[in-house]
Symmetry: C2
Subunit: 283 residues, 2 copies
């Protein structure tokens, strides 16, 4: 099969952008890859053969067929608002929330914009952590803009499939609300739980903690930087999710000595998890 695009520009070669470059190279060695990033990152990408050439901005890359914006959310929005993309090129992104980015693309009237969000990450970011197999078997959300041609979405879907991912079309609202619960809420819970436990019991108390706290707070090790933009651009849905869990906690906190109430809550959690794990293993 021929590659969906013969020349790809990747703006931001961090964990995700760098992994896209490496996965493009793995799938289609002849595709030309231009990386747009700081000189040290661009240098590292060239050294690992994740880039054929580098540029200072996507606008100066001639003949590019696909531009992948792989920077923090606000930088993606700024690029869509102020950028001039080569006529005929398709533009996509990898931002973790989609409403604000789609709004910017629609506003800027970028005809061939297809929003994207790969469900893949690591505890650490940066090009040094990038790898060609980051997306293998992972879901990759695609969100079409108001005026996006069907063929553009289909080509981006073929592109993410070539990286090993499973494309999944969705609307921006559903995407962002779902992420508020399955991703952003667990992240906030992990960070706030870890902070609260240390405040209350300190180092001596933590010396008594085991695998349970370790699992429940693992996400607290995530880098802070990307989360500010994610939460700010999804604040309404995340606030709804956070308030719901806060109320759940408050409600159970007053009924801890009611065995039936505790059993109801715990059974519901365990059965929900069993159902979830069953659907995962069935895939």
């Amino acid at each position: 099969v021929s590659a969906p695009f013969r020349h790809v520009a990747i703006v931001g070669a961090g964990l995700v952008g760098g992994s896209i470059a490496l996965a493009v190279r793995r799938a289609s060695p002849a595709v030309r890859i231009t990386v747009v990033d700081r000189p040290d990152v661009a240098e590292a990408a060239l050294a690992r053969r994740a880039a054929d050439d580098v540029a200072l901005s996507a606008e100066e890359v001639r003949g590019v067929e696909l531009v992948v914006l792989a920077t923090p959310i606000q930088t993606i929005v700024d690029a869509l608002t102020t950028g001039h993309f080569a006529p005929g090129s398709i533009v996509t992104d990898v931002g973790s929330t989609k409403r604000r980015i789609l709004a910017a693309a629609n506003e800027a009237d970028i005809p061939a914009f297809v929003g994207g969000h790969p469900m893949a990450g690591r505890e650490r970011g940066g090009f040094a952590e990038a790898s060609a197999d980051l997306f293998d078997g992972r879901r990759w959300f695609l969100v079409a803009g108001d005026r996006t041609a069907r063929t553009a979405t289909e080509r981006v879907a073929a592109f993410v499939e070539s990286l090993g991912a499973v494309p999944h079309e969705v609307g921006a609202e559903v995407h962002d609300r779902t992420m508020a619960y399955v991703s952003h809420l667990p992240q906030i819970v992990a960070s706030l739980l870890m902070r609260r436990v240390e405040v209350e019991v300190g180092t001596p108390g933590l010396a008594s903690a085991g695998r349970g706290l370790d699992d429940t707070t693992r996400l607290a090790s995530s880098p802070t930087g990307i989360w500010q933009g994610i939460l700010e651009s999804n604040a309404d849905f995340v606030a709804e999710a956070v308030a719901a869990l806060s109320e759940d906690l408050g409600a159970l906190g007053h009924r801890l000595d009611e065995a039936d109430e505790v059993a109801r809550a715990f059974d519901a959690g365990r059965l929900a998890r069993d159902r979830w794990l069953a659907t995962r293993s069935a895939r």
Copy 2:
């Protein structure tokens, strides 16, 4: 070295009681082990050589030097309140909270009671999951009663060391408050988070969830049965912990669009986790 006790009775051969029996056998093959449990469990213990003999109650075991109460918390309390232990025998337990159990032992005037709590568990319970190495390197809290002789505590400490554990003396209040934060709060968070996420996004939304939600909700798979007694007997401290986290969530939920506030919370969580992991790896 000689075994701290030559004849041990274990009341309740579930995951913890059964593992104690197997660990006693591993450490000192000549120690006599009497198991008190339902006939089918007792049979399984005999078959795995975790028991030399079985009994219907601890009271009918003659010449026993150590009685280990390894049942749910309320059953431990009942045994301490109504039981008659052989004169000269030391009594210990493995309950996950300690104030109520120590109060019952003090009230019943059991002179040689030493409360215990091994920090070891599995996602599943029952004798079938028991293993001799469950306690290797794990902390085992010991809480002396009001009139417990020092020698009794020292003998129980030697006993848990012989099982591979690290004895750690503590007061019942400090123990229970610490557990409220490092163990009971994460458990509640995991269960309520899993339930809430399923309610809000259902199976289609959960199909988009990844390792983050998986880690954060792993504890939701714990069996409900033991948790009713744990939370009920520690309701005051757990309610305090739950309310604190509920307030943390409520506070951040209103400030998701303030990047500095998000950074403060996330940095605090990450640094707290880094400090905790550093002390663990230094041990």
